[in-house]
Symmetry: C2
Subunit: 649 residues, 2 copies
């Protein structure tokens, strides 16, 4: 049998191993400790190494893309050494980052060829007016309007009362040189109109920043990007919990709260408080410029339909009453002072268009930034939170629906569930022999509970390892003390009390399983109904784009294993992060993108699932792991077989 | 010598008089007491009687029109009995009313053929919408807009944020029947746009009133008419002092006050307080309907340019700084809530267009309601208050200017001056033999002072009777103790202390004379400059239309005698009362009138007198009684001669 030299450092002596040895074994021999949370099953991807020289055979290449393999990446627990090799072990945090890479902070691309002159609806002009005299007694307002028409060609000029106040002083302080800020809008019939947003005395250099903000109001998190509209550059990105959380975790409880006396105003004030604080913070983060919130002249806002209603102080109660009709999908453009947004008082607030009560501007903005509406390929776009909103389509057509997934994926309705914050178990692996779990905790430290991604991971592992069957029943006959009779029937102990932050066992119960099954079934059924509605098989989906903050932490493999995502090759999935704020950013910057957004909203066909019989059927079939029809999930079938096989060995 | 029978009552015995007897003498003989405040000089018109049968010879027919004479009216002190006659003595209050008739409450003519459908920019429609369903998930706002476009044909629909709040509830409460209130406006290029003003659940009967208000904000008085826009009927007319008076009597002192810290807001709140109270009062006065201020959906506002600035909270300081440029002449249309006007919060507030800092919307509205812009005849339109604003023109052209007359005509700057309220002497006659005055006091009772019309009257009488010469010098050598040396030189005692309310003499001093001379000279010079600017002689003026509340009390004869008004035949003068509020009423009711107003404002050529050399010259020449050039005032020359003649007798 051949022997190979294995080096983990070019400067140290190699270890010598026999052919057929795994890299992980060679590493142990070299005294190196590589983490294997999944216990060497090739499923967690944590033991990744880079083979710099020599060849290995991949027993499994889960978690590796073609590009990864070409670059020499390999799973240490699955790679059989077939020659002398040089192996580099990446630092642990680099592995973490790499695994999360395409799920984390969005690359911000400034639209190519961006120019405020051609693409920005908010324009700044420095103009010189002729001063009045006894011969020319034109009043200040008319003088300004005439100049705007004459020099800039704009007509239909709207000037808010609050700015008429400022015109005379600005003209005189600037010695009849002023800088004006105009928002150019469009009426029906493509007729242009112009709103004056500000007037300042004197000339402003063209390259001076002109500040705008893109905002995504999530039910849980509000995200704000501060942007120089002149260059398109994002100068600050900040996010914070939506302060409305204290009055309800999900949209339904917020709508109910808003219906109480004073509730609407309170919720509006809470989210405005969050946004106004974010605006302050973002301004402070900007380097090389002094920016105040009052310098922000334009704001584009994405958010689900309920968030948009509450942001504008509009009652949202019909959103939760059949037939679920919102007051508006497209709010009119307003001035910031109308709602108390702390930007320039006359900053243009553009609330982006939504499609329906449960498919809001966050989704249209997501479709925009993900480019679904321009895609040649059949694309499935997905945003999972309390609701699972999804869009299927391409440049030809778009269909959308929202599934009331419930808050299970946000950790609510699950006994040990929690939001994805410090102390949450976000990923779990279970050894298929011992049924002992390994887990990763956000921020390290002792676990406090399990967040959405952790729950999906846990459910998948329990299913794959046989701890639960396809109907979600726990198997009490396995050789582990972690499956036990609890208060609500059988339960699995994920963390023993001594290891838990609270000092109490963290358990996963049958009730939890059922909640998660319903949540994932709703989403998968949504996919099916969308596909059926346009008569295409779900499997023909060429790309799956996952947006939303939750999507960032979604594990595709495990999501497929529980039947949440369709069983498609992994390379078809892409995590895009917060696509809503990115869409808002595009719309903020570029009027063509803004128009695309209108087209997306009007083009998208909304399917109300509660009125769709096929949905209930699809939902019932999806209440199993991964599905009643296992042929829809060939990769899961294969994975289960491989585990059964390894158990047999 | 012939004898005639004179009956004052067909049922009583006649008195028998000789030919040549005056009616007043016959009356005395019959034991009837006819008032003669002017002492039988034929100048006051108070002894008017109607000759029902028989003939008289008119020694003088001052105060009588041709129509009067044809109808048999005669001055008892000037009519010589020439046959048996039957004479009717009108009741005193009827005489008063008759004398004031064309100066008092304006006849309100509803524009002929008025129909809100064709002439009103504020329209009310009851519409039925199809309810949403799972099949039709259109949001409420879009549903409403679509319906407006489909059923009513309007596009470019603006809906304020505060109404988006109401739409969903109204639609559902009304079971998808709603009544909407739309304001139809026009952009440049005559492009129509529509503003939603309100939405109410259910159907409203077409004949139900639709309330609007026409407002004139005078520096001194605010007038408000409450109007049913469906019929054009004025249901209430109310007026009250502008509460801003407590912060300054005239526009200049208000502008200065507004420039102080907090002054602008205070003045805005003061006038809004006045208007809001008037609105309440007007609503309570309406008969047969229950009206609340919140039911008022549209407001048209006239007022001078300063009043308009303060009403909207816009700094007015450039109005008093050369070259006197206002911030605006035409404010944009706003919603009532933007300034805190207590109507419906989204009532359309249409501030009418002005021409210059000192020719405001009160003048354009006056021109509109007086019909100057449609006149075939060369017309002089005049509005005298603190400023004298005047317009000369016809349907061909219009020129305008404003003379800083000072507040003398409002009773300010004159020792015994006061506003035209209870206790003010409003008319004076002086006996040309005794130099004893007779006067009329507003509300009867003891006099407290002299108001503008009383001052003009007094000045004219003093001049005509020789108490002062043409330069305004008092004549100390006349046989009367009423001319005496006072604190500031010679003065005339109008009321002795015992007859005065205050218990102190009411006097008229040389300083007072000078103030009045300056005021009247400024106005007359304005007339001349206007006429000169277009190259027409002032005498060719075919009608003089006098608006404004002061005009109501102006005595033409005496105004001509002091050289305030040009010496034209009396029948060419017409008092129109508050032409500003009437113009606002037209503009409120009728969009064609509103458009005419824009045309008036843009067509009118404004002459800034402080930049006009000819004005100073004309002013200096007019500082005499009635003028340096007496040939300009032939009737005054004649009147003086007739008095000298009667003295000679």
């Amino acid at each position: 049998m051949a022997e190979y030299k294995v080096r983990f450092d070019p400067n140290t002596e190699p270890v010598v191993v026999k052919s057929g040895t795994l890299i992980i074994e060679a590493a142990k021999q070299a005294g190196l400790d590589i983490l294997q949370p999944c216990g060497g099953q090739g499923r967690c991807g944590r033991c990744i190494v880079q083979v710099m020289d020599g060849t290995v055979r991949h027993r499994s290449s889960l978690r590796l893309s073609k590009e990864d393999i070409q670059a020499g990446y390999a799973l240490a627990c699955q790679s059989i050494i077939e020659s002398d090799i040089l192996v580099r072990i990446p630092e642990q945090d680099k592995i973490e980052r790499r695994l999360m890479s395409d799920r984390t902070a969005l690359e911000i691309e400034i639209p190519p060829g961006y120019s405020p002159e051609y693409k920005q609806s908010l324009r700044r002009f420095s103009i010189q007016l002729s001063p009045p005299s006894y011969e020319d007694q034109t009043d200040d307002l008319t003088r300004l309007k005439k100049e705007i028409t004459l020099k800039l060609g704009y007509r239909n000029i709207f000037i808010p009362l609050g700015l008429i106040n400022k015109i005379s002083q600005a003209l005189r302080l600037g010695n009849w040189n002023v800088t004006i800020f105009l928002h150019i809008g469009e009426l029906d019939d493509r007729m242009k109109y112009v709103q004056l947003v500000d007037i300042l005395p004197g000339i402003i250099a063209e390259e001076d920043p002109l500040w705008g903000a893109a905002i995504d109001i999530g039910t849980t998190t509000v995200t704000l990007w501060l942007v120089d509209l002149m260059t398109g550059k994002v100068h600050a990105q900040v996010a914070e919990y939506n302060d409305q959380i204290r009055r309800g975790e999900d949209v339904i409880s917020r709508i109910i709260y808003a219906d109480k006396n004073g509730g609407l105003t309170e919720l509006q004030q809470l989210v405005l408080g969050t946004i106004n604080e974010l605006m302050e913070t973002a301004c402070k983060r900007v380097k090389f410029h002094r920016v105040k919130p009052e310098d922000v002249y334009k704001v584009s806002v994405a958010g689900n339909t309920t968030m948009m209603h509450l942001f504008l102080g509009v009652p949202a109660n019909n959103i939760r009453l059949s037939p679920f009709i919102p007051s508006f999908n497209q709010a009119p453009i307003i001035y910031a002072k109308e709602i108390g947004l702390k930007t320039h008082p006359f900053a243009i607030v553009d609330c982006l268009p939504g499609v329906a009560s449960y498919v809001g501007a966050d989704i249209t903005a997501g479709v925009l930034s993900a480019g679904v509406d321009l895609a040649d390929q059949l694309t499935l776009f997905l945003d999972v939170g309390t609701n699972g909103e999804m869009v299927l389509g391409s440049k030809e057509w778009l269909v959308t629906c929202a599934c009331s997934a419930g808050p299970a994926f946000e950790g609510a309705g699950v006994q040990s569930g929690m939001r994805a914050t410090t102390g949450a178990i976000e990923e779990v692996w279970i050894n298929s022999n011992t049924y002992e779990p390994t887990y990763r905790v956000i921020g390290g430290g002792k676990p406090r509970g399990i967040c959405g991604s952790g729950l999906i991971s846990l459910l998948a592992e329990m299913f794959i390892t046989g701890l639960i069957d396809k109907a979600g029943n726990l198997n009490p006959s396995l050789p582990t003390n972690r499956v036990r009779e609890g208060e609500h029937g059988l339960e699995y102990v994920v963390v023993w009390a001594v290891e838990a932050y609270s000092g109490e066992d963290i358990v996963f119960t049958r009730v939890d399983v059922d909640n998660l099954l319903r949540a994932k079934a709703a989403i998968y059924a949504g996919f099916l109904v969308l596909a059926q509605s346009v008569g295409v098989p779900l499997e023909s989906t060429e790309q799956v784009l996952i947006g939303g903050s939750f999507g960032k932490y979604l594990n595709i493999e495990k999501s497929i294993q529980i039947g949440l995502l369709p069983d498609l090759p992994w390379e078809r999935f892409r995590f895009l992060g917060n696509t809503a704020v990115k869409g808002a950013y595009y719309a903020l910057l570029d009027k063509h993108s803004r128009k695309r957004l209108d087209e997306i909203a009007s083009k998208m066909t909304y399917i109300e699932l509660s009125a769709d019989n096929s949905f209930y059927e699809a939902f019932m079939s999806a209440l199993f792991l991964p599905h009643t029809d296992l042929s829809k999930f060939p990769s899961v079938e294969k994975a289960m077989k491989s585990i059964q096989y390894s158990e047999t060995i």
